[in-house]
C-alpha cells in the first residue's frame, strides 16, 4: 500500500507547477513568478486605484498585518519539506531493508511540494525567498534520491552521479542566466533574451515543444521521480506482490520521460551557456 502511496505522491513534485499554466522551470525562474523585478506577482490581484477614493498614504514600512517573508505559509511548508526529506533520509540509511518509513516521509515531502505553490498564490504570499527555497529543495530531493541509488545500484554509480551533476548544473546555470536577464535587461525580451535577431536554435525547438504540451510536460517532470523511486524499491525489495507490474511501469512507462527530461535539462543548460555572456550589463 505504501508503494502505491509513494508512487502517487512522488508524482506530485511538479503538479503544483502546472497551475498556473506556466511550466515548472519558467514559473520558478522566469519573469512570471517569484521574480526579481520591482513588481511581484501580487500586483495582479489588486484593483486599479483609479476607482478607489483617495486614501491616507500608508507608511513605507512593513504593515503589521503582513507576515515577515520567512514566516509566509508557503515558506513554512518549504521548511517542513526539508524536514521531512531529512527524516526520510535518516530512515533510508538506518534501516535500508525496510523502505516503509523512508517512502512515507519522502512522499510527504513531495506532497507538500504540490501545496506550497498553491498556498503562495491562494494566500497572496508569493516571494523570491519562497521560489528559491522551492527550487533548492527540489534539487536536494532529486539529488538525495540519486545518491540513494548510488548505494543500491553501485555498478551504475557514475551514471547516477552524472545525472545529479546534470540536474544541479542545468538548473543552476539556467537560474543564473534568468536572474542576469532580469536585473540587467531593461527591455524585457521574450524567448532568447538576446539583442538582435533570434537565431534558429535547435535547442530552443526542443524546449519549446516541451513547454507547449502540458501533458507531455507533466509526464516528463513526473517520470524521473517515479523512475528513480521505482528503481529504489525494485532494488531494495524482493518478491513482493506487484513487483513485475512495477518493473514494467518503471521501464515502459517512466524511462522514456526520464530521458526526455535529461534532454531538456541539456537544452536549457546549453541555452544558458550560450546566453550568459550576451546579457548586456547596465552601463
Amino acid at each position: 500500500m505504501f508503494l502505491a502511496l509513494f508512487l502517487l505522491a512522488s508524482s506530485f513534485p511538479t503538479i503544483s507547477s502546472l497551475s498556473p499554466p506556466s511550466p515548472f522551470l519558467y514559473s520558478v525562474l522566469s519573469q512570471s513568478t517569484p521574480s526579481y523585478n520591482d513588481e511581484p506577482l501580487t500586483s495582479t490581484t489588486t484593483p486599479s486605484s483609479s476607482n478607489i477614493p483617495p486614501q491616507i498614504p500608508q507608511p513605507a514600512v512593513l504593515p503589521t498585518k503582513q507576515l515577515p517573508t520567512w514566516a509566509y505559509v508557503p515558506n513554512l511548508i518549504g521548511y517542513a519539506r526539508l524536514l521531512f526529506l531529512s527524516l526520510s533520509l535518516h530512515y533510508a540509511y538506518s534501516s535500508p531493508s525496510k523502505p516503509g518509513k523512508f517512502s512515507i516521509l519522502y512522499a510527504t515531502s513531495a506532497l507538500l511540494d504540490a501545496l506550497d505553490g498553491k498556498a503562495a498564490r491562494y494566500l497572496n504570499q508569493v516571494s523570491n525567498l519562497g521560489g528559491l527555497l522551492d527550487m533548492v529543495t527540489d534539487r536536494l530531493t532529486t539529488s538525495s534520491m540519486l545518491i540513494i541509488l548510488t548505494q543500491v545500484y553501485k555498478k551504475y554509480a557514475v551514471l547516477w552521479l552524472g545525472l545529479m551533476g546534470l540536474d544541479i548544473s542545468s538548473h543552476w546555470m539556467f537560474q543564473y542566466y534568468n536572474a542576469l536577464r532580469k536585473t540587467h535587461h531593461k527591455s524585457s525580451s521574450k524567448g532568447a533574451g538576446r539583442t538582435g535577431e533570434v537565431k534558429m536554435n535547435p535547442l530552443k525547438v526542443v524546449v519549446d515543444y516541451y513547454y507547449r504540451s502540458p501533458i507531455f510536460f507533466a509526464y516528463c517532470c513526473l517520470a524521473p521521480e517515479l523512475f528513480y523511486g521505482g528503481l529504489y524499491i525494485l532494488g531494495e525489495f524482493d518478491g513482493f506482490k506487484g513487483r513485475e507490474v512495477l518493473r514494467k511501469f518503471v521501464w515502459w512507462g517512466c524511462f522514456a520521460g526520464t530521458v526526455v527530461k535529461q534532454v531538456t535539462n541539456l537544452a536549457q543548460l546549453g541555452e544558458a551557456i550560450m546566453g550568459v555572456d550576451e546579457v548586456e550589463p547596465v552601463v
Binding site: 520591482d38 486614501q55 515577515p68 540509511y93 548505494q151 551533476g165 552601463v283
Partner: protein, 259 residues
C-alpha cells in the same frame, strides 16, 4: 576564483551585426581588441574549467572502481586534486589574460559544487555508520544551498544600489573569511583536504606515514572544515535575509503604487 567584470564600453546595440562583437578595452595600453561571443568559450580560464570537469568525472569513475578493488584510489585522488588545483588557477588566469566572463564565473561555481558533491557522495559509501553517512549528506545540502542562496542574493543586490548590505552586518567569521586571504585559503583548502584525507586513509595500508596523515587530518584540516561550514551556515542565513528584505522592499513599493 574569477571575478566578473562589467564591460565599461557598451556593445554596439544600434547596429546588430550577424557576428556579435563585444568590445572590451584591454588594460595594456589604449589598444582596443574585438572579441566574438564564441571566443568566450575558448578563454584560458574556461579551458582550465573544462579540464577540471573532465578530471572530476574521471576521478569519480576511479573512485567507484576503488570501491571494489582498492587499487585505483591513488589515481582517483590525484585526478580529484588536479581538479582542485585547477580551481586556484582559473581565477588567476582570468585576471592575467583579462578574460573574466560571466560564463567563466558560473562554470567555476558549478564545477566547485559538483566536485564537492561528488566527493561527499563517495564518502557516504566508505563509512558504514548511518549517522556518518547522513553527516556527509547534510554537508552536501549545506554546500549547495548556501552557495545557491549567496549567488542569488548577490545578483539581486547588484541591481539595487541602495542596498545597505555591507560588511558591518556580517558575522565576524564571515567578515574574516572575506577580508583575510590566508584565513579564506585555510578554510577552503582545509575543508577539501579533510574529505580527501578521509578518503585516502580508508585505502592506505598502515604505515608510519598513516599517523602523520591522521594528525594532519584531525588537527589541521577538520577545524578548517568546521569553520568553513560555519561560514556556509552564516552565509545561508544572511543571504536568505537579504532575499527576504528584497521581497519586503518590493512589497512595500507595490503598496505605495496602489495609492
Amino acid at each position: 576564483m574569477p571575478t566578473t567584470r562589467r564591460s565599461k564600453s557598451p556593445a554596439k546595440k544600434a547596429n546588430p551585426s550577424p557576428a556579435r562583437k563585444v568590445t572590451k578595452s584591454t588594460t595594456e595600453g589604449a589598444k582596443k581588441e574585438t572579441r566574438t561571443t564564441g571566443d568566450v568559450f575558448l578563454y584560458v580560464p574556461q579551458l582550465v574549467g573544462y579540464s577540471r570537469v573532465i578530471s572530476t568525472l574521471l576521478s569519480m569513475y576511479y573512485m567507484t572502481l576503488s570501491l571494489t578493488t582498492g587499487s585505483h584510489y591513488i589515481l582517483a585522488i590525484n585526478l580529484y586534486l588536479f581538479s582542485f588545483i585547477g580551481d586556484l588557477f582559473d581565477g588567476m588566469a582570468a585576471r592575467k589574460f583579462n578574460q573574466s566572463s560571466k560564463f567563466g564565473g558560473v562554470l567555476d561555481m558549478v564545477t566547485d559544487r559538483c566536485t564537492t558533491a561528488g566527493m561527499l557522495v563517495v564518502l557516504t559509501w566508505i563509512f558504514n555508520e548511518p549517522s556518518t553517512k547522513l553527516l556527509f549528506l547534510f554537508l552536501f545540502f549545506l554546500d549547495i544551498s548556501s552557495h545557491w542562496m549567496q549567488m542569488t542574493s548577490s545578483l539581486m543586490l547588484g541591481s539595487h544600489h541602495k542596498s545597505r548590505e555591507g560588511n558591518s552586518k556580517k558575522f565576524i567569521l564571515v567578515r574574516l573569511f572575506y577580508e583575510s586571504y590566508p584565513f579564506f585559503g585555510y578554510c577552503c583548502v582545509g575543508a577539501e583536504l579533510t574529505y580527501v584525507l578521509l578518503y585516502v586513509l580508508n585505502y592506505m595500508p598502515s604505515s608510519p606515514l598513516t599517523s602523520y596523515v591522521e594528525i594532519a587530518l584531525w588537527y589541521v584540516c577538520v577545524p578548517a572544515c568546521v569553520l568553513k561550514n560555519f561560514v556556509n551556515v552564516a552565509q545561508l542565513g544572511s543571504a536568505s535575509w537579504v532575499i527576504a528584505e528584497e521581497d519586503v522592499r518590493a512589497f512595500n513599493e507595490e503598496q505605495k503604487k496602489k495609492l
